[in-house]
């Protein structure tokens, strides 16, 4: 089942087209990476999903229903530009945000107490936000995003401002939420996070979707049929079938060679050919990183 389906979503700001017929499907209970360079239209899409603004055309379907006001409580949103009321106490603030999402006061109190206990920040309950450090405030903010148990969580650059320890805590939390059945939309520029956490991705560039699929599929699509081989003694291969991209000596007679396969004969054929000309010590396919795919696609687009 799809947690969210966007169909031909278009948004225009006077002269500027922010989203151009963007369609995407987010499978339930996955971590979905929403990628794209600055100004591509990610925030616009997120705002439309959050019903902060409305699409000019197109539809959004959330868990099988047309997006509507009652879904506000179904979504948890952590904006990139985050903020809290500086003069308000942590506890009051958590309760207030949860109530705005539709929780009753009693429930809001109970859940926020549970969360601050879980995050080991009980002593902060009566502190004013202005007295907290940036990382502390981020924790409070994260709690307020997930406290009402949304089925869809949208995190815009969730790790900015966190030290590695807290980033780990949040990562753990995110994975736990996914296991509990939440769907998470992740908007980020940090490709290592995408690599680690995301199951599916979509890439938006200049208002258009240019790539969508599971991480596996995407990597499959953008594989370069390039392999790195460590071997003893130099060799030469049939130039019609293979291209030697790089060959260098590691030590003594040991070499590291990068080979591109011209046809789709696959790794096994290459391995068979190699065994005949050299002693193979390691053989690994050079899979493009998300970062490389991102750069290739976005840069490629710019040269059109």
């Amino acid at each position: 089942m799809e947690a969210l389906i966007a169909h031909e979503v278009t948004k225009r700001y006077s002269q500027h087209l922010a989203l151009d017929r963007v369609s995407l499907a987010i499978p339930a209970q996955t971590i979905f990476g929403l990628l794209g360079p600055n100004g591509a239209g990610k925030t616009t899409l997120i705002r439309i999903i959050n019903q902060i603004i409305q699409a000019d055309q197109g539809t959004i379907t959330l868990f099988g229903e047309r997006l509507q006001e009652k879904h506000i409580g179904t979504i948890g949103y952590l904006p990139e530009e985050r903020g809290l009321y500086k003069k308000m106490r942590v506890g009051e603030q958590l309760i207030y945000f949860a109530q705005l999402k539709g929780l009753s006061r009693q429930e809001a109190i109970a859940r926020s107490k549970a969360w601050i206990t879980k995050f080991e920040i009980k002593d902060w309950w009566n502190k004013k936000v202005e007295d907290l450090s940036k990382g502390m405030a981020q924790k409070v903010q994260f709690i307020s995003t997930v406290m009402h148990e949304p089925r869809l969580i949208i995190l815009d650059e969730p790790f900015s401002g966190f030290d590695p320890i807290n980033a780990q805590l949040i990562t753990k939390e995110i994975l736990e939420l996914k296991d509990k059945g939440c769907t998470i939309i992740f908007s980020t520029h940090r490709m290592e996070t995408v690599e680690d956490l995301c199951d599916h991705i979509v890439l938006i560039d200049r208002s258009k979707k240019i790539l969508e699929g599971s991480k596996r599929q995407v990597k499959e699509t953008y594989r370069t049929h390039t392999y790195t081989v460590e071997h003893r003694g130099p060799f030469a291969l049939d130039a019609a079938k293979y291209r030697l991209i790089q060959q260098r000596v590691v030590e003594d007679n040991f070499y590291k060679t990068v080979i591109a396969v011209h046809d789709d004969s696959g790794p096994n054929q290459l391995l068979r050919d190699l065994i005949q000309v050299t002693e193979v010590h390691s053989f690994i396919e050079k899979i493009p990183t998300m970062s490389e795919i991102f750069i290739t696609l976005v840069k490629g687009g710019n040269h059109e």
């Binding site: 409305q54 949103y77 500086k86 999402k101």
Partner: protein, 438 residues
């Protein structure tokens, strides 16, 4: 609706719980009378202790009889020329010199005052009064009119002004009391609309610059956020008023009881009459008539209308202040958009002083008190003098329509503005936001 209520509650509680709210609420009604009392006290004290100024005089007419209640007069032992020379010679023998030449009492001319320092207009006026009185006496002697005859001719008439209201009741009115009340209400109205309006703007800017707004608008509609904020502050304002009304009532009742003014008028007049059988007649007439007018001001009516116009004016301007707050990133940027909001308020405020109170039934006063943007300040000024009910209804109806309109218009700017950061905003941009679809 529930969400507007939540936002309103937060706005209300965070403001009311601040220590500054408590302090302002308690101190403001005490500070004003206290300041006025202090100023009066000091000016009286100063008058009492001030040394009378010495004036030397050369009287060539032989008419002058110095009255030493205001000045110390000292005849200059010599001629006017000598006195002038001393004055010019930079010595301190002669400071201020009054020269009265030989004169014709019918056309007194040439009386001159020389001084090293300027005398205040009120000092000169009292000198003139003194000389006029003296010349009048001289004339009376010449015309064979004596003081006794003159005293007998003099009668003290004081007119009691009665306003006949539509119900045919007679009410004693003293326009100076109504004038004062109108002015005080107008000033208060102007201050409150401004103070509370500015607070809305600050709140909006704060939410925008702390980025908290993005979280809120993912849970509530921008319009709900704006309305919640405006209504929350309105309830703070109303609470403050209620506390003030209670405080002022308690304080003034206590004071009146203390000074015995709250005694029934009849009894008080009898008592005064017994103590000062002759002299007090005029005085206690004044006190009584003040009390009479004061009693006849329909306080509930004034308070009710004051609250109505405060709320209406506040909602009308508050929405505009909210829109300005949403359009900018910092209070400094807000200045440019404050101007058009301030203008109608200032017009109302200045006209109140210039002519509305004086000429409360003139066409322009009536119109100013009907146009929603100026009505809160001008109508409250006219209220005490009696306003025809149709004008009041029209004005209040238009004010309601007015604030619904400004709230709607401001909401359209607000919903876009709060999400825009670092945009260079001018009136054209505001218009674009206003026209933009959701």
């Amino acid at each position: 609706m529930n969400k507007i209520w939540l936002i309103m509650k937060r706005e209300f509680l965070t403001r009311v719980q601040k220590r500054s709210f408590l302090i302002a609420t308690i101190l403001i009604p005490l500070i004003f009378p206290l300041l006025m009392g202090l100023m009066m006290y000091f000016s009286v004290e100063q008058k009492r202790h001030a040394e009378k100024q010495e004036i030397q005089y050369v009287d060539e007419s032989g008419l002058f009889v110095p009255d030493t209640s205001v000045f110390r007069f000292k005849p200059f032992p010599g001629t006017f020329q000598q006195a002038r020379m001393l004055l010019d010679a930079d010595s301190n023998v002669v400071g201020t010199l009054l020269h009265i030449p030989k004169l014709d009492v019918m056309r007194p001319a040439g009386i001159t005052l020389y001084g090293k320092v300027n005398l205040s207009p009120s000092d000169i006026a009292s000198l003139e009064q003194m000389l006029e009185n003296r010349i009048r006496d001289v004339k009376m002697e010449q015309m064979k009119v004596n003081q006794k005859l003159l005293d007998e001719l003099k009668t003290d008439v004081s007119i009691e002004a009665i306003t006949v209201t539509e119900g045919g009741h007679e009410e004693a009115s003293d326009s100076s009391i109504l004038f004062g009340m109108g002015m005080a209400c107008g000033i208060l109205m102007y201050m409150f609309i401004f103070i509370y309006g500015a607070q809305i703007m600050q709140g909006v800017i704060e939410e925008k610059s702390s980025k908290v707004v993005e979280i809120i608008v993912s849970s509530v509609r921008p319009f709900q956020l704006m309305m919640g904020k405006i209504l929350g502050l309105a309830s703070v304002g109303l609470l403050q008023f209620l506390i003030w009304i209670v405080l002022i009532t308690v304080v003034s009742t206590t004071l009146l009881t203390y000074f015995g003014v709250s005694m029934p008028q009849q009894q008080m007049m009898e008592e005064v009459g017994r103590q000062y059988p002759e002299s007090a007649a005029a005085q206690d007439y004044a006190v009584a008539s003040f009390m009479k007018v004061w009693d006849q001001i329909p306080l509930t009516y004034v308070i009710f209308n004051f609250l109505f116009y405060f709320l209406g004016g506040y909602l009308l301007y508050g929405a505009l202040f909210a829109a300005v707050g949403a359009a900018v990133d910092s209070p400094a940027e807000a200045q440019q958009f404050m101007f058009p909001i301030t203008i109608p308020m200032l017009i109302a405020y200045l006209s109140l002083f210039a002519f509305v109170l004086e000429d409360h039934d003139s066409a322009i006063s009536v119109w100013l008190s009907i146009i929603p943007f100026t009505a809160p300040i001008t109508m409250i000024g006219r209220l005490g003098f009696g306003v025809p009910w149709w004008q009041l209804l029209l004005s209040q109806g238009l004010l309601i329509i007015g604030f619904i309109f400004t709230t709607w218009a401001a909401g359209r700017v607000y919903r876009i503005g709060i999400l825009m950061h670092g945009a260079k905003v001018n009136y054209r941009v505001l218009m674009k936001w206003f026209m933009m679809r959701n």
